[in-house]
Amino acid sequence: MTLRITVNGKDREIEAEVALPDFLRAHDINPRLVAVAINGEVIPKDQYAGITVRDGDALEIVRMVGGGAS
């Protein structure tokens, strides 16, 4: 049975619950360059190791981009 999550607004399926660092590594994402929120809560960088991505989670993974004002 697969788990359904959303990442940056898009539905995704994962095989099983996974630790956040593993999830990022699996997607070739450098944790240093991003910030992550799960279900609206921003995850402090030093707590990634303890966080598990679960069924129904909504992840936001962001980075810096060029921009000055709206």
Partner: protein, 264 residues
């Protein structure tokens, strides 16, 4: 002349803050930052493209040891979006400074005074150093100052419009009453606009489009640097008053006369 600007305890010798959007290439971004002499650079926070998670952006080329990074909440239409983006910005940049924008309207990009104050109060409670972008409303500016904002950032005119400082009278009042630095943001189209803002006593200006979309961004960045320095120096030098009438700068007496009075 030592003339440093202090915001939330941090000192800046450059009074020109730069945005990083709309440049044609990373090379132009870097050259413009270099030419501007800026020490404060604002960046936006956006979703990572998971299909291309390691795509490099102009920001990857910047030597961040040289600049104070100022994450902003550009693009946030609601208080909730602004709060989340501010927190994500803090996590990704490691800085607790935020240029706060709550802008519901996509056409004129005018900030929401009610939402901005509410978001500012919450972020300050969470330990952020908040620099709010606002309409040039002196009473709103005072509310934000009293809420604990580190600066107020009134607009000169619509974002990216290049219309200059259309709100000069209100900005003068904000400056007259403010106990925190006043940074004029949005609308600056040319160095004359930046100089004007500084002449009336603004502590700094933030520029993005006017540099990034000019024909020669590095040269325009250098021009903005000169304009800000010119305006700051003029403010310190104390400009003359505007007078409705003329006033000669040469002696009014003693002009030679061609036709002497004839004599018998």
């Amino acid at each position: 002349m030592s003339d440093t600007l202090t915001i939330a305890g941090k000192q800046f010798s450059s009074r020109l803050f730069l945005g990083t959007g709309k440049y044609a290439s990373p090379e132009q971004t870097l050259a413009a930052l270099e030419a501007s002499g800026t020490e404060m650079v604002t960046v936006a926070i956006r979703r990572l493209d998971l299909d291309n998670p390691n795509a490099r952006t102009e920001l990857d080329y910047i030597d961040w040891s040289r600049y104070t990074v100022l994450p902003n909440t550009a693009g946030c239409k609601t208080v909730d979006e602004a709060l989340l983006t501010a927190r994500l910005g803090r996590s990704v940049t490691g800085s607790n400074w935020v240029k706060l924008e709550v802008i519901p309207d996509p056409k004129y990009l005018l900030p929401d005074p009610i939402g901005t104050l509410r978001a500012a109060e919450q972020l300050i409670a969470e330990g952020f150093v908040v620099l709010p972008y606002i309409h040039a409303d002196p009473v709103l500016a005072k509310h934000l100052e009293e809420a604990g904002c580190a600066t107020v950032m009134p607009l000169g005119s619509a974002i990216g419009s290049g219309q200059g400082i259309l709100t000069l009278d209100e900005i003068k009042i904000i400056i007259e009453n403010a106990k925190v630095p006043v940074v004029v943001d949005a609308g600056i189209g040319a160095p004359s606009d930046a100089a004007l803002a500084m002449e009336v006593g603004a502590d700094a200006v933030l520029v993005n489009t006017a540099v990034a979309k000019s024909q020669d961004p590095p040269l325009m960045a250098a021009a903005m640097k000169l304009g800000v320095e010119a305006g700051r120096a003029a403010h310190l030098a104390g400009r003359i008053d505007r007078k409705p009438y003329a006033s000669a700068s040469s002696p009014t007496e003693g002009v030679a006369q061609a036709a002497p009075i004839a004599r018998a």
